[in-house]
Symmetry: D4
Subunit: 155 residues, 8 copies
């Protein structure tokens, strides 16, 4: 009994590799009824959007605040609309916003998939423990989504 | 005043007989605006999906856990989207996941229909008591849905 | 700024006059984007649906229970989906289910419109006090909906 | 395993007989940890409180509205705090506020007990169908509460 | 990863200038998938709708009440459906309903954008502090929405 | 049936007269089980708390933001804990935070009492329409609370 | 930083062994601030409470329904009040009400501990997958609670 | 108007310095009615609790999972009970669980205070943007709490 509803999947976290496109392409190849959304993935825009639109701030703290709050308009709206939330932790940076999004999604009761390499397993154990799946590759995430959406396990 | 909205009906529980198809066919024959969804009904896929996608586990407990959590991505998403939840208890097996789904649906306030033979009536009394209807056959479920959706009692 | 979304309006209460059709026709004449839904308005079907579908009950109390619970599958689903709930109290009968629906809708925070003649005003004061409008005629309800949906006052 | 928490029980509905005192006395005799609350049971005060405190209204409709809204401050606060809600329907009057309270409590997911004589069974079938118990006497309600609170069935 | 879902944006507050049309035009020029809604912006209709539809009231207080409650049918329905809420404070009048809507939206967890001139900054500090953005011009609001919806910062 | 639970009442709004003390004294004189809470009523502290504790801000906008957010820690916590919310509008200032609190309380479903002089009636009609009582004097508020809490109308 | 709040723990499921007393004694020995509650554990009372209090039913189905609904008054009230829910599956019977309670608790977001022997692991995998701990002995449950409540791991 | 209710404050995050004790001591010196709670702050216990209580796991991933889920029993229970949540980010480690807790608290609508040194300001901007206060020292947090709880700004 194949669900024909479109599933909304929010892809949070790391923005320096093409993991989102990999997942999207692998789902498109399977013709899955999945619509993806994501935070702003242009790092510079994400940092500077606040002052670019609302005016400059000499103090870096408020420069950052203005931008982070604009980003939250997008992030929270899309995260609330999502059926499933995927959060990827990459190799670099603190990525606290990724963990924040994971906590936010968990508190909303969204099914959560965490994607990271084995090196981060211990540091992410509290986050992983809130997830319904912990994957190591984008291909696994696509396979997970295919299974969840179609109810069938690929050949 | 006939509702024209599509009703989402989630068909939880027993996966070894064709009761879902019977209900769906009986609703299709009545041209009801009903969309059905269901958990994964391929028993083997349901057991092994976790390790098939995310890697083998030597310990059966974690083998099962990985699979059960993948199934939950599908189950909870579809159950949350459902307007009405039908849970069938068959003749065999423990079927604790069916009872779990019934409890989950009840706590979400979803209208609940339980489907089982008369032999299970006493053992299922707490579950039946949370339901708005207790049916014995898939045909009754289809008739119930027809009545709920169209507001008319057939011939 | 005219809203183009369809508004779902649930018409609860009295089932022995054609007030629902009057409202629907008056809204259709105004080409409002409103979709109506209603409980089962065939009194006999509403009383007997339970035993007709699920089997006879010698005890009238359980005969009624079976039917009332089937009706609740329809009622609660449509009431939850509604943007606005209208409840009409007619001249006859106890109409406790109408008042029950009004309380249910109020607790869900649905905008509530109560429709009744002036004779019932005192007896309905607690119900009216939970409403955003108290109308005396179906035409007033249609005018209210037109105003709420289009944001414009006719004529 | 006897619960020692106090249970809050809201006694809604009919205000012309001493059914509340009967239940309270029967629970006190059993030394149950139950605290009762109720709407205003002085009919005249309940009708006139609004204008008595906030100033006269020449129009009866607004006289009633002012009073009904004051009553709602009490009713909703106590109903929200309640663990269990009992609603009694007496022999006389329309009692739409009783049915309204039952619907309100049902939508909040409160365990609901309905108390009425057998004559009203058919007219109250939709309300009864939302309840976990339908009793005919205050003594039965006290016995129900004793069972729910202590987990023991009296000799 | 461009979201293709339509975003519902509710434009609350000041009704004496064309700021809503300015935002809508600027979003239309960018071809954004945004649908706008608004309270009734015809001041006279907003004041008199209640008595026009439901009958005259000699007492101004109840004249106003009837109208304000009709307006609330529209306002709350659209505000609940909104993904993002924008509230504008103009130069004149008390505009308490604008601040009320901002509080209402904040309690619902809606992303909130406040639009006002610099003169009101101190008086609006509690309201601004609940917002994700504080803009001074409609053009800024359009730019904010473009960023939130497309995830891209305009040239 | 007198409720013995303590009622939590949050007194929001105007901070330049002693209306809170008047209500509290009038309730104390009646020995009501009511506990009052309030926002910070020291105007200067309320304006400057942010910079006093967290460090100076040269920009007035962020000076205000820091303070307003500290105030929100208190306000939202107490407002969420309240059973009943009273909001007073005085003669002076914009008082947008009062209207914001009223909207916030309304969206949370808190019983709302608005207190203001007759001059503000028209400007506050949308706010009043969300309230269960509109009072003109603190004495009326105390009388309302006495009635709601004890269920008895004073001699 | 030891929490001094009392934790409410609901002990659902199997009623034919003394596992509840074992957990309670082990927690008492550790002087933990934990209050336990449970469903009715007298099997006969649990089956017959409905008819004993509300009158006999010739039809076994309704005999069971009456009892199951009375039990639900207790069960749902205590389960809603619980901070943590423990569900035990024993060796015998279908125990569908245990699985139902687990699903109900999961949907409410209650931290869930499942207690069962290794033989049931596969059949319970969907239920276990919703739990934060799967224990095999009552002693383990007591140790878990001690850790969760005190934040210290016993010697 | 001094609130006399006890405020529950959850202190999440970094566990290698004595910041919790500093805040608690500073609040105790002010005699504030504040009760603190915290996650398990014994790093080793936090890592090994799962296997210590429920049995060893050869695979480190499941060793971590068991422990992380036990910790979640404590964390989520205390976080849900909290009125205010403070999250500290220290100098070392990834601290993803701190950011996860901040997201979790934000989605629950808890007033959030973030505590970190200036070096982390940019990396934490999304987290800070969800907070009502960003402090640099435990003393500032104590001063904030004193202000929020008493409504008075210390000399």
């Amino acid at each position: 009994m194949t669900s024909t509803t479109t599933w909304n999947v929010y892809l949070s976290g790391e923005i320096h590799t093409d993991w989102r496109e990999t997942i999207a392409a692998a789902c498109a190849a399977r013709k899955l009824p999945v619509a993806f959304s994501a935070p702003v993935t242009d790092h510079e825009a994400s940092d500077d959007c606040g002052v670019a639109i609302l005016g400059a701030e000499p103090n870096k703290f408020w420069h950052d605040r203005k931008g982070a709050q604009l980003n939250a308009i997008r992030t929270r709206t899309l995260l609330e609309k999502a059926d499933v939330v995927v959060v990827r932790f990459g190799e670099k940076y603190r990525q606290w916003n990724a963990a924040f999004d994971a906590g936010y999604a968990a508190a909303l009761g969204k099914p959560l998939i965490i994607l990271h390499g084995p090196d981060h397993a211990h540091a992410l154990k509290e986050v992983d423990a809130a997830a319904l799946a912990v994957a190591e590759t984008p291909e696994q995430v696509a396979a997970l989504l295919a299974y969840a959406v179609t109810g069938r396990l690929d050949g």
